[in-house]
Amino acid sequence: MATAQPIEPDVGFLKQVMALGAHDAKKCVQCATCTSVCTLSTAETGFPRKQMLLTQWGQREQLLSDPAPWLCFYCGECSKECLRKANPGETMMALRRYLTSQYDWTGLSRLMYRSAAWELGILGVVATVIVLLFTLPRNFGFGLLSQAGPQALSSVMLNKFAPVETVHLADTTLALLLGFFLLTNAARMFRRLTRDDGIPLGTYIRYLPTLALHLFTQARWKGCAAGDAIKNWVRHLLLASGYMLMFTLVVIFLPWFQVPNDRLHWTSFLGYYATAVLLVGSGWMILDRARKNGEMYRFSHLSDWLFPTLLLLTAATGILVNILRVQDLPMPTYVMYMIHLAIAVPMLVVEVPFGKWAHLLYRPVAIYVEAVRRDALARGA
């Protein structure tokens, strides 16, 4: 007879996940209504029912190597139908918050998810550093504002005030640094999910297109059970496209994007598109969340507010910089530029590798691993 697998709940883990949103997970009676209404769940994955039980029993180790929390796009049908009001959708969300904090090896994510003070504190510190970079006299550091020179104050000379080479160097460095954290975190997740699964590397290589597909399209969202799944997917896709586009413009095309004065480069049109999409998309999401419009917005963690809010502010300040620049108001342009960076940089620093933004990579990795697992299972059977 096979030996029994010992079970010991991790109450600390359970309490953390409950604090992150799974307040009602213990009420689940395993009726499986949630799994029945979920159109993304399969016989193999069985979410969210299975994750409800694993959560109830504090099975941290099992959940750390489970891709299922990321396979859910939170349409909320499960929570709507739940007879026990155990909110499985929000439990899956809480698990994603917890997993985000766990896959990060620096420990910063853990601190920020556990405490609002840490999260706001770190955002504040990074913002302060940016402001100081601009405002401190040159002797104490960069002193970008004092570097601009007197003629920059009579007419907007953004490239004088913030020389495009310097900014380009800074944002490339930042992008590489954040990319490094994000990729190492995602690699940690990948290792955790695939540890000892004995699936040949070839399978993983064959499925790489799946990873790319879901990274760029979030195509699976379309399959969600809720009636407005397509709408939500399109909205998210547009937002993501604006975000990626803007990121690319700033990191790679900045020399052309941040053109002197009123000359238009083709990148400007992309910039306007991205700005519009970001403003409308994030604003819409914030409104929905504020109105609790839909299951997925019924509960909100601080991290759910911060990401779209910072995004909205970044886009808004960015376009304001442009407006002020075109109006040729030198000082307001420079101040707005500083504010823009003081919002954008902390957002990127905190959200990309340590916060909600990281789902950009975690979710496609999970879908990828699940596809590989399914393939291996089919072959095994």
Binding site: P6, I7, K15
Partner: protein, 750 residues
């Protein structure tokens, strides 16, 4: 003809369009010589009834035959005088609605039914109700929640009550329980039982006489006149009561039989009861070493829903376990509480309490099958299979609590049915010794079965017959509160597993049955299920051979024996089913309106076609409780069946006297069908054993058939429950077809 039979034929409800009523009236007038025969278009209407009433008042008639709808319809309208001989001929459901109109076979069927009805009315005598000087006092045995509420309910209704309790105080098992399950919104917190106030009220009630430290030592007599001997501290006295409510409660299932769940392996395995005692004293500890328990694991259905132990759900253990988990967490929220269950049963609003207790971070519920419990260092380890956490998992815990089930506190075979289940050498005796190991769990041990509750002096035995699963009672759905002893009703946990609140409600119901019983008996009426029936059997004892069949077969133990072995009938115990009449080989038991001779006369009234007519005749005896209304429903649905059948309703198939089958076959009837209720553990027979007895009697009929050199296939008995009514036409037609294949009865024409 000694009686002036009035025949009243209704032509309404399409009877007139279907049948030739002139010919029918001629059958009554000319053939049966009925002095009065009237056809009316709307017999149950005021004018129709007035016609009948006038004939009765003019003394033109002294027996009635109402040929109209089914006897189950318009009963109040047509019961003009409950004492007067009367029969209802079912022309509507059994003829006009079920068979083609203006058809010779339909007409022949209607004429036969009319002939049979007239014979029945002729052979009935006016009923004279039993005169009874009776006691209306109600005895309640057991002073727990159920007993207290039964006493209160009966006393509030104005009846004197004697409440007997064997202990020193009232309250039973809940006497010292301060908090019990939630009964009020929001149903999430334990509540005070309020039992102390109830005890005070019943104690102060002017109609209730409470006898503490008292037991029933003997119960003689019959409803309305039970002589009950009570013993209190060595002194005996007798009270006379009209009816009895038994509310002796429950006791926990013997855990020494639960060796497979670890009982006896370690003092750290305790029962729900023992755990209650432990947490009443303080925080839970490990009985083996007295250290605080960091984890407690509950095993639900310990013995319940297990064919080797208690086949039923004990109903309360789930709530009990949730309550104990709640109490543990009130003391220390960090104690891990595991609950291993197969299903959680928290009916109604209790679900809210379940959700609340479940939502505690340190409560862990797991559905699965317990595969074993073993010692694991100084802890216990419980193996669980078929869980959603894994096929085969093991949960360690300091204390294992077995949520043991309910056993009725009444003498019964439940625990002796199975041998003790004690693997690993943990015999019951050892286990019992070990529970005393830790003082904290000493608690009370499981209790032995009581030797006697009522000690009835009935010929069929001293206690209430067991219905199923060891519970004295009756079919729980059809006949709640009833037992197989008339005038004795069970209430509370002795009746079925239930919690305090349910027991209180159950007790009120049983008390009302007890009240109803004394009232109906005082009027000479039968109680449930032939409520209101004024007839009763009489015994022509000069011809009795003392064969004892009636005394043995009576489902209600109504017939005792005197010193000489002659049947001694107790009319108030009788439910008028006629099983004794069917049992008697000497045919000396008869009712004034139901007798062997009467049914034989009805059989004789059936016109049997000659052999060359090639029309079979099939007689169907139908239980009037399920089969007969099922056939009514076939008529209402306008479905048809072979018109060669002639149906005779019986009070119970158990009243079937086999002589009727011989009568029918020797008259040339080609086949006989007997349709009764379902019997067995989930019986539906209104008289508990009637249809089963009839099936047994039929075995003997086979010999009779052989003697007559007839095929045994000509007689068939089957069980039908009302919900299977739709299959009745096919069943009847198939039997008639089989009879046709056998060919005509060779006795035709003799």
């Amino acid at each position: 003809m000694s009686k002036r039979v009035g025949v009243y034929i209704c032509s309404g409800c399409s009877i007139g369009e279907s049948l030739d009523l002139d010919r029918l009236a001629r059958v009554a007038h000319e053939e049966c010589k009925a002095p009065v025969c009237r056809v009316h278009p709307f017999l149950c209407g005021e004018e129709g009834l007035a016609t009948i009433r006038k004939d009765v008042a003019d003394q033109a008639v002294d027996a009635l035959v109402i040929a109209a709808c089914s006897p189950r319809m318009k009963t109040a309208a047509f019961t003009l005088d409950p004492r007067m001989p009367m029969d209802r001929v079912n022309l509507r459901e059994h003829v006009a609605w079920a068979h083609p109109p203006k058809d010779e076979d339909s007409q022949a069927l209607a004429e036969d039914y009319l002939r049979m009805g007239i014979v029945k009315a002729e052979k009935s005598e006016p009923l004279e109700p039993l005169a009874n000087g009776i006691s209306r006092t109600i005895l309640v045995v057991g002073g727990g929640v159920a007993g207290i509420h039964a006493a209160r309910a009966a006393a509030d209704a104005g009846y004197d009550v004697v409440l007997v309790e064997k202990e020193r105080e009232l309250g039973g098992r809940l006497a010292h329980v301060e908090l019990d399950f939630p009964t009020r919104a929001p149903y999430t917190e334990l509540e005070e039982t309020g039992l102390a106030a109830e005890i005070r009220k019943v104690g102060a009630h002017p109609k209730v006489q409470v006898r503490m430290l008292t037991r029933v030592v003997r119960t003689e007599g019959q409803p309305g006149a039970f002589a009950v001997t009570l013993e209190s501290q060595g002194k005996q006295g007798t009270v006379t009561v009209g009816s009895i409510v038994v509310a002796t409660g429950w006791r926990p299932y013997d855990p020494t039989r639960l060796g497979h769940l670890g009982y006896g392996k370690s003092p750290n395995v305790v029962t729900s009861d023992q755990f209650d005692a432990m947490i009443a004293a303080g925080a839970p500890v490990r009985p083996s070493d007295g250290k605080p328990a960091e984890s407690v694991l509950f095993i639900q259905c310990a013995g319940s829903r297990d064919q080797n132990h208690l086949p039923y759900c004990s109903a309360v253990c789930c709530m009990k376990t949730l309550e104990q988990a709640d109490r543990i967490h009130r003391r220390d929220a960090a104690t891990k509480v595991y609950i291993i269950y197969r299903d959680i049963v928290t009916p109604g609003q209790s679900e809210r309490y379940y959700a609340r207790v479940q939502n505690h971070p340190a409560t862990f519920l797991l559905k699965g099958d317990v595969a074993g419990v073993r010692n694991h260092g100084d802890k216990m380890a419980v193996e669980v299979k078929n869980t959603l956490l894994g096929e085969h998992v093991e949960v360690p815990a300091d204390v294992v609590v077995l949520a043991t089930g309910f056993v009725p506190n009444a003498p019964g075979p439940i625990e002796t049915r199975n041998p003790a289940d004690a693997p690993g050498g943990a015999s019951g005796a050892q286990a019992q010794g070990q529970t005393g190991n830790g003082e904290a769990v000493a608690g009370k041990p499981w209790e032995p079965e009581p030797e006697s509750i009522l000690n009835l002096t009935y010929r069929q035995g001293p206690e209430l017959p067991i219905c199923r699963d060891g519970f004295p009672g009756s079919n729980f759905i059809c006949f709640p509160y009833e037992t197989l002893r008339t005038g004795i009703y069970t209430a509370g946990a002795v009746h079925a597993p239930m919690d305090g609140l349910t027991a209180a409600e159950d007790a009120a119901g049983a008390a009302m049955k007890a009240v109803q019983c004394v009232e109906m008996i005082s009027r000479g009426q039968a109680v449930h299920p032939r409520a209101g029936d004024l007839s009763y059997p009489s015994f022509f004892l000069q011809r009795c051979t003392q064969c004892k069949r009636c005394t043995v077969e009576c489902p209600f133990g109504a017939i005792d024996e005197d010193e000489k072995g002659t049947p001694k009938f107790n009319p108030n115990r009788c439910r008028r089913c006629g099983v004794c009449m069917g049992a008697c080989p000497e045919r000396i038991i008869s009712f004034k309106n139901y007798s062997v001779d009467m049914i034989a006369g009805m059989i004789k009234a059936i016109e049997v076609p000659d052999e060359d007519e090639e029309k079979p005749r099939v007689l169907v005896f139908m239980c009037e409780n399920d089969a007969y209304p099922a056939l009514d429903m076939i008529g209402m649905k306008r479905r048809s069946y072979d018109p060669s059948v002639r149906v005779i309703p019986l009070r119970c198939l158990g009243s079937l006297n086999v002589v009727w089958i011989a009568d029918a076959l020797s008259r040339g009837i080609d086949g006989v069908m007997l349709i009764g209720c379902k019997y067995g553990e989930d019986y539906q027979c209104h008289f508990a054993k009637g249809s089963e007895i009839a099936s047994r009697r039929l075995e003997n009929v086979k010999e009779t058939l052989q003697r007559l050199q007839l095929e045994s296939e000509r007689v068939e008995v089957l069980q039908l429950s009302l919900d299977e009514y739709a299959q009745l036409p096919e069943t009847i037609d198939a039997f008639v077809d089989r009879v046709r294949e056998l060919g005509p009865n060779p006795y035709k024409g003799f």
